[in-house]
Amino acid sequence: MFLQHLLNGITIGGSYALIALGYTLVYGVLKLINFAHGEIYMIGAYLGFILISLIPAMPPFLQGNVILMMMVVLIVAAAICALYGFYLEKICYRPLRGAPKLTPLISALGASIFLQNFVMISMGAKDQIFPQTIGMKTITLGGVSFTLLQLVIIFSSIALMALIYWFINRTRLGVAIKATSTDPYMASLVGINVDTVISVTFMAGSFLAACAGVMIGLYYGSINFTLGYLGGIKAFTAAVLGGIGNVPGAMVGGFLLGIIEALGAGYFSSEYKDVYAFFILIAVLVFRPAGLLGKGVNERA
């Protein structure tokens, strides 16, 4: 039983981790909690829904291949969401650069409400049911049952995290994100275009959130325009749990939160599934505000 809950927790935790990365990366470069990030994740789920509904119209070689199809859906949805992220920053945050910290936060909440209502009006307020096309057959192995879809989700989350880790540590632009996070003033003095770096950060975070949205949509099978609120806050909890601004922290925090939630739902009560996340958020803020991997809260002058 334990292994079963663990597997379910890892499946969902991978998505939390992907969304949490967006919070943490943006916090790094702008010291801003992008509260509209959950909405990007929700839009990703809707784009996934639209694309998967189009599958019958796709070429046959795609329809036969679950993994290839999944990749096409993920990449297209994520690319469109990256554009959402780009314009979100450009329209809602860039004009407020240098304003008091509260101002962009309010702008974030406004953007969040706008995007939610935009999806509600354009896609309808009722739940949308994902077409059950991909790998739904249950496989049982040593008392643990799972679907092929679940394995694809776990594998994709880990692959995406490896990709973003490589990007940040091994590419010039990625290291520039780290440099801008530590000292934007100095970053501009070495010739880094800080505005570009911020745009790229938003796009990367939105890309990951969209992938999480598609995967969660497929996993739960139904989506709703309010999805981004709870998902966003949970992923934010994961980012805080790992230490906001800390990239490996967001990954660890995401998986940990998913596992705790699954174990809590399995052993205590699934009615309280969403309570565990908020309990953790409060506990972390009270007892370890810097998070598990955070380095203490010291703001640079």
Binding site: L189, V190, G191
Partner: protein, 233 residues
């Protein structure tokens, strides 16, 4: 090479620079001296575009550069090594240097890294260490090395000797002199006016946002006004 004409700069309502004019010719070491708050660092910030000027003009190699964003000014060949070193503490020494060469074409980065490390062998020993774990003197070396990574024509150094042990200070000044031999032009801001006037060709004295004295460094060193105010005579 660099010409500032009557530049003005504001910090909110406070006029930090009230019409500063100065010139730096190719191959020179020029120093700015003055008390705290006289406008030395502000002058450098105006040149590198970190702080916008509200009046006057800045020309570099015959082209106006005031109003350009900092990364474009770096691209024109002006490198600003700011006060307080500002090492990227969490980045390794190598990453710090690679960031310094952010605007270099990828094909030239490795070679430039090698050249800069040859100048600062101490840094090659610490290449994988996080920048923040270096000693103050090493961090200053790294800051200068990072500023050189973009192959600048003009290097601006803001208080490179601040807070360093005397032996380290001597080393930094030696480095500046050897940089000039490599064909670099240097604009140096220093509290340590004596040392700065000793290694420089010309100097400007700033007082509350304007240039009050300028000339040959040797002449300034024996000028009674400079001696009394800045050299502790």
């Amino acid at each position: 090479m660099l010409r500032l004409t009557d530049i003005q700069l504001l910090y909110g309502p406070i006029e930090a620079l009230r019409g500063v004019s100065l010139e730096v010719a190719e191959g020179e070491i020029v120093t700015l001296i003055g008390a705290n708050g006289a406008g030395k660092s502000s002058t450098l910030k105006a040149i590198s575009g970190i702080h916008a000027v509200v009046g006057g003009s800045i020309e570099f190699r015959g082209q106006r550069i005031d109003g350009l964003p900092p990364h474009e000014i770096v691209g024109r060949g002006i490198s600003h090594c700011p006060e307080g070193r500002r090492i990227f503490a969490d980045l390794s020494v190598r990453e710090n240097l690679l960031m310094g060469g952010y605007l270099l074409p990828k094909s030239e980065t490795a070679q430039q890294l090698e050249q800069v490390l040859a100048m600062f062998p101490r840094l090659s020993e610490r290449i994988s260490q996080a920048g923040g774990t270096l000693s103050g003197g090493e961090q200053q070396m790294l800051a200068i090395a990072r500023a050189l990574m973009c192959k600048p024509a003009l290097l601006m150094l803001d208080e490179p000797s601040l807070g360093l042990a005397p032996i380290m200070v001597a080393k930094i000044f030696e480095t500046i002199l050897s940089l000039r031999q490599h064909g670099l032009t240097v604009l140096l801001v220093e509290q340590n006016a004596g040392a700065a006037l000793e290694i420089s060709d010309r100097g400007y004295v700033l007082e509350v946002g304007s240039v009050t004295l300028s000339g040959d460094s040797r002449a300034l060193r024996s000028d009674p006004r400079v001696v009394q105010a800045y050299l502790g005579g």
